[in-house]
Structure formats: C-alpha cells, structure tokens
Assembly symmetry: C2
Homo-oligomer: 412 residues x 2
C-alpha cells in the first residue's frame, strides 16, 4: 500500500552526501527497547510526567485563548513571541545570563538551537570540540553539517582547561560545545574556576562556545554557579529549555546570542520552521510572567531529590568493589564506571532480558572510549523501583565477573 521509492537505483544514490553521517543512532534503538511494556527503564532522559504542572497548564491554555484569542493561534515572529522574550529577560538575569530582548531567540526545543547554530557556523570539515562523553542529541544535530570532532578530556569537575588549551592550540576549532551543569550523560558540573578558565580560553583563542544548559534549574543541593556566558558573553551562545521545568511536549527552547549572530540564527530558523508554535509560547510566557515557574519548581525538586538520593544510596549499597560513580548535585543522570574487565554490553543484554534497561556509556563517546561505563536516569522511576533496579544490575554485574550467568527477575 505504501510504496518504496522507485527501485531503479539504490536509495543512497538519491540522498545527499551528508546522510552518510546521519544514520539512526544506537541510543534510539536502546530507548525503543527500554520503552517496551513492563520494562523498568533507567535508560531514558524523560522528565517524570508527574513533574508537569498539569492543572496550571490547563488553566493557562484556556486563559491564553480567552484573553488573546486568535493572536495566540496566528503566524508570529521568527524571533519568538514578544511577551515570552520579554519574560525571559529577568528569568535569564536570575541565572546570571545578562541580555536584552534582542539577544533572545525562541526555538522549537533547544534541539532547534543546536541544529541552527551548526547550520549558521559549520561548513563541511570545520572542527567542533566536544566533551568526551557528550550529549548525543547535539552530535546528531551537528552531523548533518559534516564537521570533524575533537574531544576535550574530562574528569569529575568537567572539562579539563589544560586539555582544552592544548586542543585549541592544535586544531582550528570553530565551535566548542559544552553542557557545563549536571551534564548529560555524566551528571558532572564544571567548577567555577574552570568556568572562568574556559572563558579566558575562548577569548584568547577567539573561539565561540555553545553553552547548553537544560538542567541548571534542577539543583537538589548546593549553590548555583554562574554560566560561562557571564564571563565571556561576546564569545558564548547560551541555550536552555522549558522541557525540564514546564513540559517537553511543548517543544520550547531559547538561545541568548551576540546580536549579530542572533540575526543569523533568525534568518536560518525562518527556513527551518518559520517560527516556534505561538500557542505554546503564549502558555510559557504566562507561566513565567505570572510567577508559576518559581512557585512550581520546588515541587519538581522535591520529586526528584529523593529519587537521586535513592539511586545514590543503592549504588553505595549494591555496587561491587571496583565501581565508581558520579554524585550529581542536580539534573537527571548518574554516571557509573565498572571495573576494567566489565562487559557493559553483555551486562546490558542480560539486564534487558530481565526487564531492566540503562544506556551503555560507550555510545556517548564520539571517538571511542567509555567501554565500562553506563548512564542511569533517576527522574523517571520512583525510589523503590530505582533501588531494586540498581540491586539487580549490580547483582548481575557481580555474577558476570564471577563468571556466573544470572537470570534477572523483573522488579514488581
């Protein structure tokens, strides 16, 4: 009933050269497996649905149509819905991102910022420096523009400035991409001293940074750190999202950029989708401007903090000797590294067969590495489920290192 494309020649011959870099990624397949019914998934990166301010959104969705009528449903400016851009100025200032409305562009998710930044900046073969490991959605966006990657080494405090300095000396880096706070996949946060050091390097080498900050609002302990943008606003495009503090299904992200670059982001975005959906932007504008975000955020933190604590506690209790893991002060992920002989892909297969999913860490490395690592999400499941899942993953890992094949029962 649905035809294939005419088979007179191979599909590859019809496609653009860039598609050779754009194959389906392994994580997509893992997330499909993880979303099967009955699976206990620590694999995804979803916010908990119970974190959404459902009744607030319901009220605002109706208010917006009652008060603004057709204007909330009409075509709108590519730059973004005016009241949302206005509401973002003080919201961003409270995070240490100083900008006026002209620096702000609203996108269809921060994924839209990643795609558009690469579109505007990257010609084939241009060099992008990324953390290792790094957020795969960024690599997926960038790959369409056929860059080359160089990887900055990281430790528990994020990227290592000395290694970044070396890379910037050795390679003509066009763009640096970092998730400095509660990074995906590691949950690590770049220290204040390193933020300043990175900003200095951006200036010294005249390199642009794309600072991706989806998680900084999800801080469960400790003091907020200023973004790198605060130390070098003329060399940084900052991006964040409403996906973790309102709802991801609205697909709302935004960028803060130097004004001349912001103008190019708008030109490029116009070709991609004309503008971001007006209705969602109007709802988000009211959510910000009427103080709902500030009032609701503590509920999200109170939901996630005990889950993080439960995951950390379970790691402390069940991880066999030889394991190390991050202690994220916020965000959605914990990063664990097993002993050198650990077969994480084998562990993954056994766990999935038993109804528990996680993401093997090697898939987050663009240039190899991480063979004994894994990413564990702690926002999608309740504390007792997380505890049982970790207990089973670690029991299986221990059994594998003992050379014993263990069946993994599905947690109830």
């Amino acid at each position: 009933m649905i035809p294939s494309i005419a088979d007179s020649r191979p599909l590859e011959e019809r496609l653009a050269r860039r598609t050779a870099r754009m194959g389906a990624n392994a994580i997509r397949e893992i997330l499909k497996v993880a979303s099967q019914p009955g699976m206990v998934s620590l694999a995804g990166g979803l916010p908990a649905p119970e974190s959404f301010p459902l009744e607030i959104i319901r009220t605002l969705a109706d208010d917006v149509l009652a008060e603004q009528g057709a204007a909330a449903l009409q075509y709108n400016a590519t730059e973004g819905y005016g009241p949302l851009r206005e509401a973002l100025v003080p919201f961003l200032a409270a995070r240490g991102v100083e900008t006026g409305i002209d620096g702000i562009t609203v996108f269809s998710g921060s994924q839209g910022v990643l795609d558009t930044m690469a579109k505007v900046l990257i010609s084939t073969g241009d060099v992008i420096a990324i953390e290792s490991p790094s957020y795969l959605g960024a690599i997926s966006a960038f790959n369409a523009y056929e860059p080359n990657y160089v990887s900055v080494a990281t430790d528990e405090d994020g990227v290592i400035p000395e290694d970044l300095a070396r890379l910037l000396d050795e390679h003509p880096v066009k763009l640096l991409y970092l998730v400095p706070t509660f990074q995906n996949p590691t949950g690590r946060t770049l220290s204040l001293a390193r933020r300043k050091a990175v900003a200095e390097l951006l200036r010294a080498h005249d390199v642009l940074l794309l600072e991706d900050d989806p998680y900084s609002s999800l801080r469960y302990e400790g003091e907020a750190l200023p973004p790198i943008h605060a130390f070098a606003p003329e060399h940084v495009v900052y991006t964040s999202t409403f996906s973790k503090v309102l709802a991801p299904g609205l697909r709302l992200g935004f960028s803060v950029a130097p004004t001349d670059l912001a103008r190019w982001l708008v030109i490029a975005k116009q070709g991609v989708d004309l503008h971001t959906n007006t209705y969602g932007q109007a709802i988000a504008a009211a959510y910000l401007a009427e103080g709902h975000l500030a009032a609701h955020l503590p509920h999200i933190l109170d939901l996630y903090r005990p889950r993080r604590d439960a995951l950390l506690g379970a790691m402390d209790t069940y991880a066999p000797p030889g394991w190390r893991w991050s202690r994220p002060a916020g965000g959605m992920f914990l990063w664990a590294e097993g002993p050198a002989e650990l077969d994480v892909l084998g562990l993954y297969e056994r766990c999935v067969a038993g109804g528990i999913a996680f993401v093997p860490g090697q898939f987050f490395f663009a240039n190899g590495g991480g063979e004994t690592t894994m990413r564990l999400n702690f926002t999608s499941a309740e504390a007792p489920v997380l505890e049982r899942a970790v207990s089973e993953i670690m029991r299986t890992a221990a059994a594998m290192s003992d050379g014993v094949s263990a069946a993994v029962p599905v947690p109830a």
Copy 2:
C-alpha cells in the same frame, strides 16, 4: 548591554559558507512594512484570524489535557503523534493521497518538510527545478543546502510539461518542487492533463517531486483535482499543513513519502527538533478525528469566497487596459501583470506611501523576470477594503502611465 560577537575578525569569517546564500529576503522587509499600523495590506499570506475555529480549539485544548493528561505534554515520537498520523490516513485518502500511517511524518509546519527534504536530498550544487515564479519560503529553506536552480516555464495552467521535459533532458535534476493547486504566488492550478504528464515525466526521468499542497482545501468553486502523488506515489513526496484549515500558530505540517525516504526524513528531523509539539498535535488529532475540520471548513470558504469575488470584481472594474490577472478558483492569492512599461517597484513605493501594500512579483522569481507583476492577497482584508485598495492601486498605476504623480489617500 547585549554584546556583538567579538570584533577581532569579520562576522563573515565565522559563518558557514552556506550563509552566503541565506541573506534576509526582500519579502521579509516588505512584510515588515506591510504590517505597520494603519497599513491596508494585500501583501501578506496570512489566513484571516476570524477563520480560526477559536471556540473549538479552546474546547479541544482543554479536552486533550483532561483526557490525556501528561501524555499530551511529554516527549513524543519523531514520526509524529500516533492518533494524528492515524487520523491523517482517511483525511489524505479523501484528497486522493493514498498512504498508510508509516508513510506519514508530522513536521513543525510544512516549512519543516521543505527544510528536511533538502537536508536529506541536496548536496552542494545539486539541481532543484522550480516553477517560475515560485514560493519563496521553499527557496529560503533550500538555499541553506546550496543547490543550483533551474526554472520551469509556466502559463495559466501551471508548469508547461514540454518545458519540464526539456529541462529534465538538459539538467541532472535531483528534485522538482511544485505547488500545483492555487499556487503561491500566482493562484494558478495545474490542469489534470498536465498532472498526469508531470507524473509520466517523473517516471521517465526517475526524478523526485516535492508536491506542496497547502491550499487545496480552500476551493471556492469547481471540482477538486487529484494530486500528482496519485499518479506516481513512488516518485512524489506530498506535503500539506494545518495552517489554512485550523491555525498556523500551532505549526503543524505533514509529509507523505515512500517508506524508505520517510525513514530518512525522520532521522533528519530528530536532529532538527526531536519531534513536533505534542500538545498541538493532540489538538489537531481531535479536530480531525471528531469531524470538526469537515464541519468548520465551509465557514472558512464562506468567509474567503466573497473576498476573492470582491478582488476579482475590483480588478474587472478598475484595472486599466493592458493589465491581465489570474482568476483563482481557490487559495489566497491573485497574480496581476501590468503593461510592459509598468514600473512596479515605483508603484509599490507610491502605494506604500499612501498606506496600501502588496508584493511586487519579481521577488518570486529565482532567476529574474516578473518585473511588471504583483501578488495580491485576498484572505486578510474584508471585501470593501479590498475594493478600495485595488481602486487606489490601479488609479496610481494609471496616473503613473499618464506621467502624473498621484498621491494615494489611505482608505478608511
């Protein structure tokens, strides 16, 4: 307060090569002028806000959250929201587009289809064949992928198959882009015989067509024609939108593609925005599945038909000898061509100074031409306003050809 990008070197040096093809277009500037307060604009391409089913949307927006809760606000499949894709199958079948759910991908406006199709198919220098004149939003999307263009000649019945055949013989065309029904900017519709002829040419030359069909639901008279997709589904990607029959601010478009190409569209879209906003898709799904679209569409037609009639009547009454214009059976635009000596840019400037805006037609030609043409929109203003505007445009045109500079009063 908002910095410019560091000025140590010119911005151009920092940008990707493709940006040389992506400058702000003239129409964008014209639309800015046209949207100034007090301007009577026949320039835009906006649906009338009073065409939106505001109360239906308000009800559905609440129903969706009441019934589906957080699921309507969560991340969703890149392919599109399941119930919307399901509802699109019979909707498309009624238009003559046969597909199953696997052929359908939902995008952030049909603009997203245009961008993603080029991303997946076009390498630098690949040849795209377009109508002349053509929809500028498509050229704006395609330009980012640095194609070369060849133009197919058109007449009152749309593209001329003999000219298309010649082009396909002479050039290695990778993609043909057409708006066969109530075209933007001309309002013209490709005849049935030519649709079949184009389909034959696609097969004979093994070329893909992107068939852009935003307007076919807006038919004010006559019988619907089948899409070209119906005659060569294995060589056509069909795209349409909810922007004209529901609301453009929701940013919802969709494609129907051969399954193997649809898979690539999904991979590419994942890098662009992960997926289209879930909430809007859920509203549109209910709008389709519950029969609201079918019930509301006649109201839209009853709103626009008299406006089209008024514009055509005013042209009949006021256009001086030597003018010709299209008689669109649907859509949003009328295309007018003045006598050979007409200075349309001069006419535009005089009319704008007098508070009336339209789009000079030459901006719709990728390779030159159309110097005496203009596009007039008839959906955004009421019939008496359209009549007065045409009367003034034509009085000014006549005065110019008489060598007299006439001031144009602003219609009340």
